[in-house]
């Protein structure tokens, strides 16, 4: 009796095993593909592990950290004025924009405000670094999609902006120009006229990009309807900047908070797009670049005269307290949570960088897309490695 039962059980198990084997044989095994850390599309050292079924992504996981420099730890052993040299290197394409929120946070704790002219120049340089940053994005976008020509146009016109930044600050990439209470120097002579010229060139560049890339059928078919991020998900993941606005969320920190910057003195528009796809994200960035040139133009016309430095003590000790300041950086919301203990340097600085949040959505958004779309979605999310890893 038991014998029979055992045999039945055994045969049942054998049948199950045969079934299982058949299933295993029929089910094609996926392939794990390492995109990066050395890969042309990750412009830096981001590694994305994707599990593929054919060319379709079943599962994707970015692996950051190849560029972690530990800035949050390093800030704790620097004085307040020295921190700007570090944070310059977070988003290295728009360096000046990294300094501004930190300086503003320190000023908030010290309860001082930069004089109007300094605010104006800060805003102008902020927008210039946005143009330098996003201008390169627009060119790079073409490369990611296989069009090699736009990137050279982007480099050509970005060069003018870098020259301007260099002219004003002395540094093309890492200006380290912002000071607590104002700026290091005033603008050099002739800078304003030159800037106006360059802004005109950049508007032409934007139009050129619109014609060359955004109007292209292939470009549109590659990006439209790909990588759609609904507004709800975007907010959950803390996407910011153009990525958030492309999902139809009307949120721009330049407009929606009161900071001692000159954005409320000019007439400008926050662009949004209802689609939430890759095309929307790229399109928003293009419009914002053009908008930035207009902002700069208006600011140049209305720039007040006066000192560029408020009265600050020689040795800067920031009073005890906590402050959070975030600004609308080229990549998105960049913020610093600064904790001071009344010392020469900060006690703790939490750096909230835009790309970290923007890339954390990758596992969600890459599921089920094709390999070429992996690249276009990553390109449209637009990250900078230094901004992910800090």
């Amino acid at each position: 009796m038991t014998d029979l039962a055992d045999r039945q059980k055994l045969s049942y198990i054998a049948a199950q095993a045969a079934d299982a084997r058949l299933n295993v044989e029929l089910e094609t095994e996926g392939m794990t593909l390492n995109i990066g850390p050395q890969h042309p599309a990750t412009h830096g050292t981001l590694r994305i592990i994707v599990r593929l079924d054919g060319e379709q992504v079943v599962w994707a996981e970015p692996s950051a950290g190849y560029m972690h420099r530990g800035y949050e730890k390093l800030t704790e052993v620097r004085t307040f004025p020295q921190v700007t040299a570090l944070v310059n290197r977070i988003d290295w394409l728009g360096s000046f924009a990294n300094e501004v929120p930190f300086i503003l946070a320190a000023e908030k704790l010290m309860e001082i405000e930069a004089p109007p002219r300094a605010q104006w120049i800060r805003t102008i340089l902020f927008e210039l670094s946005r143009i330098a940053n996003v201008g390169l994005f627009l060119g790079d976008l073409g490369v990611q999609l296989g069009a090699v020509t736009p990137v050279f146009m982007a480099f050509r016109d970005r060069e003018h902006v870098l020259n301007l930044i260099e002219g004003a600050t002395g540094g093309r990439f890492h200006p380290n120009f912002d000071r607590i209470g104002g700026l290091k120097d005033d603008l050099p002579a002739g800078w304003i006229a030159e800037t106006k010229q360059v802004m005109k060139k950049l508007r032409n560049f934007c139009t050129e990009m619109e014609d060359l890339l955004f109007g292209n059928e292939i470009f549109q078919s590659r990006l439209r309807g790909i990588g759609v991020i609904p507004a709800e998900v975007a907010k959950q993941y803390g996407l910011s900047g153009a990525n958030l606005r492309a999902s139809g969320v009307d949120w721009d920190l330049r407009r929606d908070q009161s900071l001692p910057l000159a954005y409320d003195k000019v007439d400008w528009k926050v662009w949004t797009h209802p689609d939430g796809d890759s095309f929307a994200r790229c399109w928003i960035r293009l419009q914002e670049t053009r908008e930035s040139t207009l902002i700069v133009d208006q600011l140049l016309d209305t720039m007040p005269s006066g000192p560029i430095m408020a009265k600050v003590p020689r040795i800067i000790k920031v009073p005890e307290g906590e402050a959070w300041v975030s600004t609308e950086n080229p990549l998105g919301e960049m913020g610093y949570y600064v904790v001071s203990k009344g010392d020469l340097g900060p006690f703790r600085v939490k750096i909230r960088s835009a790309s970290f949040n923007n890339i954390s959505i990758v596992p969600w958004v890459l599921r089920g897309v094709y390999v070429p779309d992996v690249i276009s979605i990553l390109a449209s999310l637009y990250f900078i490695l230094g901004d992910i890893d800090r």
Partner: protein, 219 residues
């Protein structure tokens, strides 16, 4: 809210009434689990909740208060660094340092805290929420069910502070090698480069433009 004139003035800027509303909403929902709160006029609001009410507070912030935008989550170690600012002479014996733990806004009882920030995008204000984590076994519930984006932030916080997040699916290291020992952002984790060679630039005074120029050159 008490002073009518002050309210009038503040209404021009988004928020202080809203911020009080936040605190009120949290108090209504959490009761005594809301431990402390601080509103700085025209600036920001800080709240501190009990560790076990962390997730519930997240739900309240998201659904009742409308802060559905997740900004960041991180940790903070309130212990003063035993290594100072890394300016000590490595050959001399270490100087005595005051190691009393003093927490920041909205108080605290433990050495380490978790804090996060969420934003209400339609009404343009944000909330910084803090919670204590126990000294001996620092852990707190994961916020992933509330804000999916907390995933990476909790991973980062875990590796940097050693704070556990209950219910997090995947607390792998994000930046550091898998077998890395220690939690770099804890204050008792030494910055070795500084211990070997203290940095000469700890005090730097730069000549300011304008009035101090001559003095700057002279010094």
């Amino acid at each position: 809210m008490s002073d009518d004139a002050a309210t009038q003035e503040l209404a021009a800027l988004p928020g202080d009434a809203l911020r009080e509303g936040v605190v009120q909403a949290l108090r209504d929902a959490l009761g005594d689990a809301l431990l402390d709160s601080l509103i700085k006029p025209n600036d920001d609001v800080w709240v501190r909740v009990r560790t076990d009410a962390w997730v519930q507070a997240g739900h309240v912030l998201r659904d009742t208060v409308g802060c559905d935008y997740f900004c960041f989550l991180s940790g903070i170690d309130w212990m003063p660094s035993p290594f100072g600012r890394g300016e000590d002479d490595p050959t001399a014996p270490a100087p005595e340092r005051d190691s009393t733990i003093k927490q920041g806004y909205a108080g605290g009882d433990t050495r380490m805290q978790v804090f996060a920030r969420v934003t209400n995008l339609s009404k343009h204000f944000g909330v910084t929420i803090k919670a204590d984590v126990a000294d001996d076994a620092p852990a707190i519930d994961s916020w992933i069910p509330v804000y999916a984006g907390a995933n990476w932030h909790e991973r980062e916080c875990h590796e940097m502070f050693g704070i556990g997040f209950n219910g997090h699916p995947d607390l792998r290291n994000m930046y550091l090698p898998t077998d890395f020992e220690g939690h770099p952002l804890r204050k008792d984790f030494p910055l070795l480069a500084r211990l070997v060679k203290p940095w000469p630039g700890i005090v730097d005074v730069e000549p300011l433009p304008g009035d101090d120029a001559e003095e700057g050159e002279a010094s």
